[in-house]
């Protein structure tokens, strides 16, 4: 390997790369921006222009997660898995982020009729109410784990409220969601993960299903009823598709928002000048959210596999090979961003890849932006003296997400 790469950590999940992914991916971006990683058998793409180009070629680079997981199974075991883990096989073809076209557009265009920025915006007063209730509780403690006490419950309450589903069961849903996470971001041939996937998806769908059935018979003025009725050019979603979609919202609606909320607090409190800047000028709250998404978004990287042989800048990616698109590295690409390593909560323009790019651009982005913006506004206005209560932080050893294990803070 190139001389200048010699100081980088050996692996992208090495301890120093977990704390600071830039020390691994930044080196690659400079020296070998489309890099074949022999150990993990995947391409690693780190420059902004290459990441967005690949994201915008869904006919060349697939997001079909089930297809990818099945490919990893030994030929002789595929029928057995299909039978044993049938819940996964019946749910995944309707999981928006994990399917290619034409399935993707079929779901997204119908969902688009009811999941609109206007509908999301209507939730702002409710979101503010949830934020303040949680902060009222947290305030009573001397030391707070911002994740456990705030970032975990808030998005759960918000997404359940959006779906007009009861809030009381959120801890049960969280358990199912964590099991699904273990499969969804791992998979492979590991039976333990597949079993967790089955329990997770059954838990999520089992929770949603009776509510979908009820609204099918007695439509109300809520999101699920609207989605059951929604139509795009004569195309509608079946009750099963609506159920999977709502399970997807429960999962995606809290997991990544939780991490985004926490990562942002970590970023701002470790750049005190920027925290104070927001305290003094709340009109920067929108650009603050974008800067958090750029530098410490919830998603480090996205996975695709090549549907055909593709050559990019002299690198020959073969059909079937995996491609890791490292958004966190692209977001620090000096070819795209001025002074890319600096945290600047007033940065404009800021065309980061924190919500992805292309047809799989995050559906929940408007809701996540709203939650995060309102949270940072509430925190800086209510607790301007908030501090990190530790100087050592542990990150989950995962490839695609950026997630702290805990975030101890003092509020006053």
């Amino acid at each position: 390997m190139d001389q200048s790469v010699k100081n980088m950590p050996e692996d992208m999940l090495a301890p120093e790369a977990l704390v600071n992914p830039e020390c691994y991916f930044g080196k690659l971006r400079e020296d070998d921006p489309i890099h074949w990683n022999e150990q993990r058998k995947m391409w690693i793409v780190t420059r902004y222009e290459d990441v967005i180009w690949i994201c915008r070629q869904p006919h060349l680079f697939s997001s079909d997660k089930l297809g990818f997981n099945v490919k990893e199974l030994p030929e002789g075991k595929r029928d057995l898995y299909r039978e044993r883990y049938s819940a996964i096989y019946s749910a995944y073809p309707h999981w928006l982020s994990a399917v290619d076209n034409p399935l993707h557009d079929h779901i997204r265009l119908v969902v688009n009729q009811v999941w609109t920025p206007t509908q999301v915006e209507k939730r702002r007063p409710r979101v503010r109410q949830f934020i303040n209730e949680l902060l009222d509780e947290a305030e009573k403690k001397t030391e707070v784990d911002f994740i456990r006490d705030f970032a975990m419950p808030l998005p759960m309450k918000v997404i359940l409220d959006f779906l007009d589903l009861p809030h009381e069961d959120w801890k049960e849903i969280k358990k199912s969601s964590d099991k699904w996470l273990f499969y969804h971001f791992g998979g492979g041939a590991d039976p333990e993960r597949w079993q967790a996937g089955v329990e997770g998806i059954k838990g999520l769908m089992g929770y949603v299903e009776p509510h979908v059935r009820e609204r099918k018979t007695r439509p109300q003025g809520d999101y699920i009823s609207a989605l059951l009725k929604a139509e795009w050019k004569g195309d509608r979603l079946t009750a099963q598709e609506v159920t999977v979609h709502c399970a997807n919202l429960l999962f995606a609606g809290h997991e990544s928002t939780m991490n985004l909320l926490a990562n942002g607090v970590y970023l701002l409190l470790s750049h005190r000048d920027q925290w104070d800047r927001l305290c003094n000028d709340p009109s920067l709250s929108q650009t603050t959210v974008e800067e958090v998404l750029r530098l410490e978004g919830a998603i480090k990287s996205m996975l695709r596999y090549a549907l055909d042989d593709v050559e990019i800048k002299g690198k020959k990616i073969k059909k079937g090979e995996l491609v890791l698109l490292v958004g966190t590295a692209a977001n620090r690409d000096p070819a795209k961003f001025t002074n890319p390593l600096a945290t600047d909560i007033g940065r404009r323009p800021n065309s980061h890849l924190g919500f992805g790019q292309g047809i799989h651009i995050c559906l929940g982005a408007p809701l996540a932006r709203l939650e995060v913006q309102e949270t940072y506004l509430a925190l800086t206005q209510r607790f301007p003296n908030m501090r990190l209560a530790t100087d050592t932080f542990e990150w989950h050893p995962i490839l695609r997400g950026r997630a702290l294990k805990a975030l101890p803070v003092t509020l006053r």
Partner: protein, 75 residues
Amino acid sequence: MARVIRIQVDYDQCVGSRICTAIAPKVFGLNDDGQACVLDVDRDTLEVIRMAAEGCPVAAINVQEVDEENEGMRT
């Protein structure tokens, strides 16, 4: 006075979601960068074009109806 439709795509915002090309395929296409481009504003109704703009997940499409005369003066 005749009215004309003006469409602007904000290329700092456009993420290539292809929702506009699915909703109004006669009006919107994709450029070489995989971002939205306007093919021909007259090939669908204002209603459909507005629907495509409202469907954009990042609100990158701006649609305006302007007087033809003013439009002429601007150019």
